[in-house]
Amino acid sequence: MQPAIEIAGVRKTYGPVTALRGIDFEIRQGEFFGLLGPNGAGKSTLISIIAGLVQMNAGRISVMGYDTVRQFRQARRQLGVVPQELVFDPFFTVRDMLRIQAGYYGCGREVWPWIDEMLDRLDLAGKSGSSMRALSGGMKRRVLIAQALVHRPQVVILDEPTAGVDVELRRTLWSFMTELHRAGTTVVLTTHYLEEAQELCERIAILDKGALQVIDTTRELLARHPFRFLRLRLPEGAQLPEALRPLVAAEQEGTLELKLESGRHPISAVFMALRDAGVDIDDVHTREPDLEDIFIELTGRSAAPAGASA
C-alpha cells in the first residue's frame, strides 16, 4: 500500500538558518501519527511544505501518491490541514466559510449535509449564521477544524490543535478525530501536550534542530527507555544516603524522584541502602517512563513551551 505521506530528502533554509536538514520518512495510510519536537525543531516548516505554504529547497513529498508540487491539485484534495494560527475571514458567516472552503476543493451541494453534521459534532450549530469575527477563540478553532475536514480528506494534519483550548473542546476534538481515524482517515498530529500524543498516536517521529531524531511505534519508543522512576517522600530532616544521591533526577516539595536503570539499579537496592542508613520512608511511588522522558532524553529539552500546561 502506498504511504499516506512520503517525505524524501526534504531540505529547507531561510537565509543562513537551516530549518530542515534532509528529512526522510513515511506516514502509513490509516495511522494516527505524532510529529513531535521542541520549538524551532522544524515541525511547522515541514507541515507548511506539505500544505503548499512554503517551498522546499530540495526533496520530494507526496500525499496519497501525488507529488505536492507537480500534482498539487490532486495532492491537496487528499489533504486537510488545521493551521496553528487562529486565522479567519471576517466577511463571512461560519456556514458561508465552510461552503466556500468546500467549493475551493471542487465540492458542491453534496457536502452540505456533511457540513451540517460537522457543525453539530463540533457544537457549532448554534453559531452557523454568526459572523466569523463575532466568535470566541475556541469557536474559531472549531471552525478551522471543520474547514480542514469539509472536503472529506483522506489525510488530516492537525498543527497544535489544542494549544490554548479548553478541556471540552479537546474532548470533542479527540472523540471526533478518533472516529474519523477508525473510519480510515490518516491523522497527523503535532502537539506540545505529550500525554495526548502518547494516548492517541500509534507511531511517533521526533524532530530536533531540523533533523529526524527517532521514528517508531509509541509502544517501542516507551519500551526502549531503560529507566524506571521511584518517588520517595522522606520524613522532615531525613537525608538521602550519599550513595543514592547520583540517582536523583528531580526534587520537588520534599519528594525525591530517583531514576533507576533497569538491571543496574534494582528497587530493592534502594530500599536496602535506606534501611542501612536508618532512613525511614513516609511515602513511595513508582512511575513508568512516559513520552516526556523519551523526549527529554532525545532532545535535552521539555516539549511544553514556557507557560504552557496540559
Binding site: 500544505a51 505554504l53 498539487f72 491537496r76 490541514v81 494560527e85 475571514d89 476543493y105 465540492c107 474547514q147
Partner: protein, 255 residues
C-alpha cells in the same frame, strides 16, 4: 462542472460577495465622490475649457470621470482583498486549496471587473438623465472598459502581492494610481496642454484608457482608437505576464 471549475467559480463568488457585503463602501462611495467632481468641475469649467467641437464640457467630463472611477475601483478591489487576506492570515485557505495561478488570476480580475462595471453603470444611470451622451462605437466602449478594468485589477493584484501592510497599498494608490489618473486627461483635452505636457501625456497608459472610452461615446478623441486599444492591450499583456509569473513562482506569497 469539473472540480477545477467549481474552485474557480467559488473564488469568484467569494470575491464578489466580499465587495457586495460592503456595497456602501465599494460602490456608493466612489459614485458619490465622482459625482461631486462632476458637479464642481462642470460648474467651474464649463465656460472656460474648450474641448471637441459639438461636445459640451460636461458631456466631455462624464466618460473621463466614469473611467477614472473604473481605474481606481478595479485597482482597489484586488489590492485590498489580497492585502486583507495577507494581514489577517486567511490567505492560507487559498494557498492550501487546489487552485492554480490561472484560477486565482481569473477570479480576482473578473470580480474586480464586475465591481468596476457596477460603479460605471451606476454613474451613467445617475448622470444620463441630466447629461445625455451618444454611443457612437459600443464595441470600442466595451473593449476599452474591459481592458482598462482588467489591467487595473491586475495592477492591484501585483500591488497586493508586493505589499506587506496596508500602508504599501496606500502608497501605490497615492503615488501611482491617483496621479496617473488625474493627469490622464479626465478634466481636459491634451490638445489644450503646453507641448511638454502634451507629449508627456502620451506616455501615460491611463490617457489612452480614458481617450479610448471617450471615442466610444463621441466617435472622436485625442488619438486614433486603434492606438488607444493597442496601448490598453499592451498594458494588460505586460501586467498580466508579470502577475502570472509572480503567482506561478509564489513570489512574496510562499516563503
Amino acid at each position: 462542472m469539473t472540480p477545477d471549475q467549481i474552485g474557480f467559480v467559488t473564488l469568484l463568488r467569494k470575491e464578489v460577495k466580499r465587495f457586495w457585503s460592503v456595497l456602501g463602501q465599494t460602490v456608493t462611495a466612489p459614485v458619490v465622490t465622482t459625482m461631486l467632481y462632476l458637479l464642481v468641475f462642470a460648474q467651474a469649467m464649463k465656460d472656460r475649457a474648450s474641448v471637441y467641437e459639438g461636445v459640451s464640457y460636461t458631456e466631455f467630463l462624464v466618460p473621463g470621470l466614469v473611467m477614472m472611477a473604473v481605474i481606481q475601483n478595479a485597482f482597489a478591489n484586488t489590492s485590498s482583498s489580497l492585502i486583507q487576506s495577507k494581514v489577517m492570515g486567511n490567505i492560507v485557505f487559498l494557498q492550501m486549496a487546489p487552485l492554480g495561478p490561472l484560477q486565482w488570476f481569473g477570479a480576482y480580475v473578473l470580480a474586480a471587473l464586475l465591481r468596476a462595471a457596477l460603479v460605471a453603470l451606476t454613474m451613467l444611470a445617475v448622470t444620463l438623465p441630466f447629461v445625455p451622451l451618444p454611443v457612437t462605437s459600443p464595441l470600442a466602449l466595451v473593449a476599452v472598459f474591459v481592458l482598462t478594468g482588467a489591467s487595473l485589477a491586475v495592477m492591484g493584484l501585483i500591488a497586493g502581492i508586493l505589499a506587506e501592510k496596508f500602508d504599501h497599498i496606500a502608497a501605490f494608490t497615492n503615488f501611482f494610481v491617483t496621479p496617473l489618473s488625474f493627469l490622464s486627461g479626465v478634466f481636459y483635452s491634451v490638445h489644450a496642454l503646453p507641448p511638454l505636457w502634451y507629449h508627456a501625456s502620451h506616455f501615460n497608459p491611463f490617457f489612452y484608457m480614458i481617450d479610448g472610452f471617450r471615442y466610444g461615446f463621441f466617435g472622436h478623441a485625442d488619438v486614433p482608437i486603434w492606438q488607444s486599444l493597442a496601448w490598453c492591450a499592451g498594458f494588460f499583456g505586460v501586467a498580466s505576464a508579470i502577475c502570472l509569473r509572480m503567482l506561478v513562482t509564489g513570489y512574496k506569497l510562499k516563503k
